[in-house]
């Protein structure tokens, strides 16, 4: 390239950077954004449009073409209220699409019997044949395909709901609460339960009371299996019914009559759920509990188990495995002989604890407002949590109608997680998803596989966890593949989106649609140098603006 080109490109970038700074200052002081440099298409977005875009970015997985106008017609307040009552929103088109996937409606038991067990039997048969010297196994039998169908459809519906559901706030909250009460689909029998867990345990309660959600999770086979509580057994009890596949002969070894050592791991007891229940589900790690509390809570939940996890069995309380002694949890006496009610009492104590109101409010404010939650808003949300007995609709309403939510510094302050990035890109391009499998793969390479978070912490909701060299490249590559229709099973009609084959017109449309109302002068200048519409669209979705919400 020649020297004069080099100088020019350096100047253009510098000039664009200067413009961006001015625009940013102007936006902060509330005065209108000045027109860009010569040839720029940046037109000032109205205050109204910016507000609507902000609300859509936070309450939904990102605006689709036409969404801003739709909200403008009914008003922001009416839109927020509508999203808070999802049962009033028609979602028939999505439901019809999901109805084509049979495993989504199947019970965990049916999934075990009809999809998983036949494959396990087939595997055994083939191993036996191999051992017997049968030369070549036949091509993959249908049983294996059906087994894979379970996870494929589960992952697919996650993407389809996030992209196409009209009940967007509900889907955002289902994602939030699933992540809060995370389970991992790769842990054994959990593959039978995860779909049912998300749709029967979490979804109906995201606008309900926290105590109900907590209780439903505590009794869900998905959580009982994931955090091992289904195996936890009173070491001193008489329990002839051994847990399925658990080793035998362990519990009886403790010398009779010896009191348990303080803090000692009791044979039969499994602390995993008890600890995460307090650290991650309710009080938070600084919520003031001790190792002693963990052990006592674990004793309360002995006997909360699953009637055959490999058969997709349901929750059951097994009194023979329950520790009937007295317990002491966070200063509360749990009287001896309480049976199943021990666990319910623990959940009551935790759900009404002030640390829980604060911990849950902090996480919700982080999701909807800012990585560093404004303390004033956390205080008000936590107060609302307490005065409404943990009514999650009211807590969310407090947050999304707050002045902190609407404040200038909240706007575009969140970096999208990979899921938010991918789904918002699919929504803003009005993508037609015939098969979401490749999108599911993309999320894996972006570091956020669906239902694939192994630790109970769930995925982080802070920018520093998601901004790194390498991951930025993966986002740019996803954007490029999507708009050039190289993502198998996904179709984007750029011509329709751009509304024109004229580069100048297309750029204006794409910039407003894909980059959003806060397009910087830099991005505008970069787009202005492109003549190919797919390149413009890739640069729009890979732009710094689009990484934020």
């Amino acid at each position: 390239m020649r020297t004069d080109d080099l100088i020019r490109s350096g100047r253009v970038v510098a000039a664009a950077a200067a413009f961006f700074s001015i625009a940013a200052c102007a936006a902060r002081s509330g005065s209108p954004v000045p027109a860009g440099p010569a040839g720029s298409s940046v037109q000032p977005a109205s205050a109204d449009e910016r507000t609507i875009a902000h609300v859509l970015n936070r309450l939904t997985f990102g605006p689709r073409p036409g969404d801003v106008e739709a909200v403008r017609r009914i008003g922001v307040a009416a839109f927020v209220d509508r999203q808070l009552y999802p049962e009033r929103i028609d979602d028939d088109r999505l439901d019809a699409r999901l109805a084509t996937m049979p495993t989504l409606a199947a019970s965990p038991h049916a999934i075990a019997e009809e999809y998983v067990k036949p494959a396990e039997m087939e595997r055994k048969r083939r191993q036996a044949e191999l051992a017997a010297g049968v030369p070549k196994p036949p091509p993959e039998p249908e049983a294996f395909t059906r087994e894979r169908q379970v996870l494929a459809e589960l992952s697919a519906q996650k993407i389809l709901r996030a992209v196409y559901s009209e009940r967007q706030l509900q889907e955002v909250l289902v994602d939030f609460w699933f992540n809060h009460f995370n389970v991992f689909v790769g842990k054994g029998a959990d593959r039978l339960y995860v779909g049912d867990y998300e749709r029967s345990v979490i979804q109906p309660r995201v606008f309900g009371r926290f105590r109900d959600l907590l209780g439903a999770v505590a009794q869900s086979p998905a959580m009982l299996f994931y955090l091992d509580n289904w195996l936890s057994t009173d070491p001193n009890g008489v329990h002839p019914a051994r847990p399925v596949r658990a080793p035998s002969g362990m519990a009886a070894r403790r010398p009779a009559g010896l009191p348990p050592r303080p803090g000692a791991a009791r044979a039969g007891l499994n602390e995993n759920y008890a600890r995460e229940l307090m650290e991650l589900h309710t009080l938070g790690v600084d919520g003031g509990y001790t190792q002693r509390d963990v052990t006592e809570v674990a004793r309360c939940f002995t006997g909360w188990t699953i009637a055959g996890p490999n058969d997709g069995g349901a929750f059951t309380f097994d009194p023979r495995r329950h520790d009937e002694g007295q317990k002491m949890v966070l200063g509360h006496v749990i009287k001896a002989g309480g049976g199943r009610s021990d666990g319910e009492q623990v959940l009551d104590i935790l759900a009404s604890h002030p640390a829980t109101a604060r911990f849950i409010s902090t996480k919700l404010v982080r999701r909807f407002v800012a990585d560093n939650p404004p303390p004033s808003l956390v205080d008000r949300a936590a107060a609302r949590f307490r005065e409404t007995g943990g009514d999650l609709r009211e807590v969310v309403r407090t947050i999304i109608t707050s002045r902190e939510f609407a404040a200038d510094q909240s706007r575009a302050s969140k970096i999208k997680t990979p899921l938010e990035f991918v789904v918002s890109a699919l929504r803003t391009t009005d993508a037609r998803i015939d098969n979401p499998a490749q999108t599911v793969n993309s999320l894996r390479s972006l570091g956020m596989p669906v239902y694939g978070c192994q630790p109970p912490t769930g995925y982080p909701d802070r920018a520093d966890a998601w901004v790194s060299a390498g991951s930025l490249l993966a986002r740019m590559n996803f954007a490029t593949a999507l708009v050039s229709n190289r993502l198998p099973g996904v179709v984007v009609d750029l011509t329709a989106l751009a509304g024109s084959t004229d580069a100048g017109v297309a750029r204006q449309r794409l910039a407003r649609l894909l980059v959003g109302p806060d397009e910087s002068g830099t991005t505008d200048a970069v787009l202005a140098r492109e003549s190919r519409i797919p390149d413009m669209a890739a640069l729009a979705l890979g732009s710094p603006e689009f990484q934020r919400r």
Binding site: A246, P262, N270, G470, L473
Partner: protein, 415 residues
């Protein structure tokens, strides 16, 4: 506001996009002789809390066998066709799946630091990992990770985008901070794929002028790295003879790290994760769940050591895990969250062939809180010894704020 700086910086981006090599590239590629070899730390995080007592087995402890009737690894030379521990020094032994590492230990290139860990009592995976990665147990407000502070302090700094590399989709906590670090997926896919040839440069320009310093820096590091990888051409890598990496995410990660070490791209700190250690249920003994994970783990490390060959002299590989596990097996033939643990250290120039640290014993009265292996070596003393004596960082105080790393407490691993 247009500053002169901004203009120069953006001009520089334009230069780079026109094919002018970045400064560091010329330097590192030009100076790849032996004298310019950089010291490298490869940190391996075993997330989920590995059961160190079944990795480096205290087979000389009767209490070990008493506490673990169902999951103990049999004593070396145990009768009855058992799959016993590999004896190291008459008291400790490797889990049998660690046998690929035995010859490295015998050569004196592998050391164990046992009963090592955090002074903080937490048994939360999340907190304990956070503390081990921030390098500040008990303090949650530390903004950056200890490996990032290593990068900030290490002598012989360059502009290489590969000074700090995590082979993972996202950067781990340990590498977060103001020194540039890179999360690297498969090398073959590292670059802008598809679109016009000029697309990568256009993406780069979008980020060059933005006001968010983190996104801007991240973008700069990304595109520097893309150029470097193109220049050194790592596509058709052949590991050294005998280096047989397991075909697993861990094996692939170590293979990529070896490539970067040998390509002299300026690597100083590499990081890889390996998970699956949270064995609350049916962890097994010589065979089973833990054994299967150790098989992958040991084969990977052995392949790395073989592949690095004489470059192992410039390298220290350090394994860590957030805490150990209960001495007693639990009611499900597994183990719960505990305290002290074992770290492995591999390197061409370490004082290996030994199990280091003071052994606190496993009798009930010797245990931490009556249940766990006590910690006799603070993990920061091991990190600090490596930072000072391997990486040549004179002042480790900034790496471990609030802690006095003391040579008197060094294990003797190095130097």
């Amino acid at each position: 506001m247009v500053t002169r700086r901004a203009f120069i910086r953006n001009g520089a981006v334009a230069l780079v996009t026109l094919g002018f090599a970045p400064r560091f590239l010329a330097r590192t590629v030009g100076a790849s002789g032996n004298s310019a070899r950089r010291k490298v730390l490869i940190a391996i995080f075993q997330r989920g809390a590995v059961d160190g007592l079944n990795v480096v087995v205290p087979h000389g402890e009767a209490a070990y066998y008493a506490a673990r009737p169902g999951i103990a690894v049999p004593r070396p030379h145990a009768a009855g066709g058992a799959d016993p521990a590999v004896d190291l020094d008459g008291f400790f032994g490797f889990h049998p799946r660690l046998s690929p590492l035995e010859s490295i230990y015998r050569r004196g290139q592998l050391a164990v630091v046992h009963a090592c860990g955090s002074p903080d009592p937490t048994r939360s995976h999340f907190d304990a990992q956070d503390f081990m990665e921030s390098g500040t147990p008990g303090t949650k407000s530390t903004g950056d990770g200890w490996l990032n502070r290593v990068l900030q302090s290490a002598p012989d700094r360059t502009d290489s985008a590969f000074r700090g590399v995590a082979v993972s989709p996202q950067l781990p906590r340990a590498l977060l901070g103001r020194a540039p670090a890179l999360a690297l997926g498969p090398i073959a896919q590292f670059g802008i794929r598809g679109g016009s040839p000029s697309l990568a440069a256009a993406f780069e320009q979008e980020y060059a002028g933005i006001s968010d310093p983190r996104l801007q820096a991240t973008s700069r590091e990304t595109f520097d790295a893309v150029r470097t990888l193109k220049a050194v051409n790592l596509q058709n890598y052949q590991p050294a003879a005998g280096a047989d990496y397991p075909r697993s995410p861990f094996g692939n990660a170590l293979r990529e790290i070896a490539q970067l070490v040998k390509a002299d791209v300026g690597l100083q700190v590499a990081f890889a994760d390996v998970g699956g250690w949270d064995t609350h249920v049916n962890q097994g003994a010589s065979a089973g769940q833990l054994a299967n994970r150790l098989d992958d783990f040991a084969k990977g490390l052995a392949a790395l050591a073989t592949d690095l060959d004489d470059r192992l002299g410039d390298v220290v590989v350090l394994t860590m895990s957030e805490f150990g596990r209960t001495v007693r097996q639990n009611g499900n033939a597994g183990t719960d969250h505990g305290h002290g643990n074992a770290m492995l250290v591999i390197g061409g120039n370490i004082n290996g062939g030994r199990v280091l640290g003071r052994w606190p014993g496993l009798r009930p009265d010797q245990l931490y809180e009556g249940r766990d292996l006590a910690v006799t070596t603070d993990f920061r003393d091991v990190f600090g010894e490596i930072a000072e004596r391997h990486l040549g960082i004179a002042d480790t105080a900034t790496i471990f704020p609030g802690y006095q790393v003391s040579r008197a407490r060094f294990t003797g691993l190095l130097g």
